[in-house]
């Protein structure tokens, strides 16, 4: 990497870490498994390594990807009223805005609930697969992980699930509903994603990337 010479070190040559939130300098900590290192000033979690985290995150990310594909392919919700029926898939929800001026919104919804979450999962799998096996990281693994981190706020599958719940309450009086496998796949996806985000210690992953390429 061309700008390695710009890395700064502490007075005793030890590597330093600045809190990403408040900029306070810390000596790079050796944090034992299941311990949490907090910033001394603002309390931000700097590191929280877990036992076998790489394998666990990898397993959860693969599970999420499969659930996401199932959620898009299988029937989502069926609605019937007055002898009329309507089968809705996640794709239909995405295409709801596909008339006239609202096409960009269709694209945005597709990105927020399917494409960005999926891109994040693939980037995480790409980064962690070799690390979990103890191999050298794949090319551009750092860029892939940085992308996954950037996309995090824009990955809105869990918000979509709550949106579905609200919509179901709205139409419950109007028609009878049946929930398809895709709905439950989406619910499971949200639970797995929460579990994965809680297991993932960014600091440990960056350090592992450093070590594996050193």
């Amino acid at each position: 990497m061309e700008n390695t010479e710009h890395m700064a070190e502490g007075p005793d040559g030890a590597p330093m870490l600045a809190c990403p939130v408040c900029d306070t300098l810390h000596a790079e900590p050796e944090v034992p498994i299941d311990h949490v290192a907090l910033c001394r000033r603002c309390g931000h979690t700097l590191a929280a390594p877990r036992e076998n985290a790489m394998i666990r995150i990898l397993a959860l990310a693969v599970t999420s990807s499969i659930l996401m594909i199932a959620a898009v392919l299988f029937p989502f919700i069926d609605l019937s009223a007055g002898g009329l029926e309507n089968h809705t898939s996640v794709l239909d929800a995405v295409l709801a805005f596909s008339t006239g001026l609202m096409i960009p919104l269709s694209v945005a919804v597709a990105l927020l609930i399917v494409l960005i979450p999926l891109a994040r999962l693939l980037a995480i799998i790409y980064t962690l697969w070799p690390l979990a096996r103890g191999d050298r990281p794949y090319p551009m693994a750092r860029d892939a992980f940085r992308l996954a981190e950037r996309l995090r706020p824009w990955s809105m599958a869990e918000i979509f699930v709550v949106g579905v719940a609200v919509a179901l309450v709205k139409v419950a009086g109007l028609a009878s509903l049946s929930l398809g496998p895709a709905f439950w796949a989406f619910v499971a996806l949200v639970l797995v994603t929460v579990l994965q985000d809680n297991t993932m210690c960014r600091y440990t992953i960056w350090k592992s990337l450093d070590r594996a390429t050193a």
Partner: protein
């Protein structure tokens, strides 16, 4: 779970920031660089200098978010047609309808997600940006907490857009009942996205730079 506190490098026991030490730290991974570095040597992210450009971006995104929030409330969010009648409902109208139908919990979710959170975010981001210039009535710790809440909660406003998408996809029963999205859905989605970008452009380190609190 036990909490492991770390040793601080720096003179004595005082807390020193990378900036005070003449260094530049990465926002994403925390790696510290000398002041001349442009990109993070570990993760490749662009290194942010706290030179006021970040604040200009915050104001620009925030104003854009407020501007598009106005049509989002004036124009209809949903157009419903049934055998008997046709109606259009705005964001507030939709919440009120739910309330009249007795779905108080859901009415509250919709009201909080599409009125309280967006307006609260405009005020909170504006306050955070203004408080950097003159000392506010909140400490750096409280303002930092406020920033974290804004960052965490902002994306949940998108819920209303998803509700409209699902309803429009679900309720397509010909002449019996049909729901179509209204143009307000677009401006509301834009407003949520712009305020998320405003919150992301805000560098929380600025709070601590200005605070200079003895800890």
């Amino acid at each position: 779970m036990s909490v492991h506190h770390m040793e601080i490098t720096g003179p004595g026991d005082s807390l020193i920031t990378a900036r005070q030490a003449g260094l530049l730290a990465c926002d994403r991974c925390g790696r510290v660089h000398d002041a001349a570095a442009l990109a993070c040597a570990r993760c490749g992210a662009r290194l942010e200098r706290r030179d006021g450009r970040s604040l200009q971006q915050v104001w620009a995104w925030l104003l854009a978010g407020i501007v598009v929030y106005i049509p989002a409330n004036i124009y209809p969010m949903l157009r419903t047609s049934t055998l008997l009648d046709q109606s259009e409902s705005t964001i507030v109208g939709g919440a009120i309808d739910l309330f009249h139908h007795g779905a108080y919990g859901v009415a509250l979710i919709v009201f909080v997600a599409s009125i309280v959170i967006p307006i609260g975010k405009f005020i909170a981001i504006g306050y955070l940006a203004l408080s950097l210039r003159r000392a506010g009535f909140l400490s750096a710790h409280s303002r930092h907490r406020l920033y974290e809440v804004v960052e965490f909660i902002g994306r949940w406003s998108m819920i209303d857009v998803f509700v409209v998408a699902i309803l429009s996809a679900l309720v397509q029963l010909g002449s019996v009942a049909t729901i179509n999205p209204g143009i307000a859905a677009v401006s509301f989605a834009l407003s949520v996205a712009f305020t998320m970008l405003a919150a992301q452009s805000f560098d929380p380190k600025l709070i601590w730079d200005a605070g200079r609190e003895p800890s």
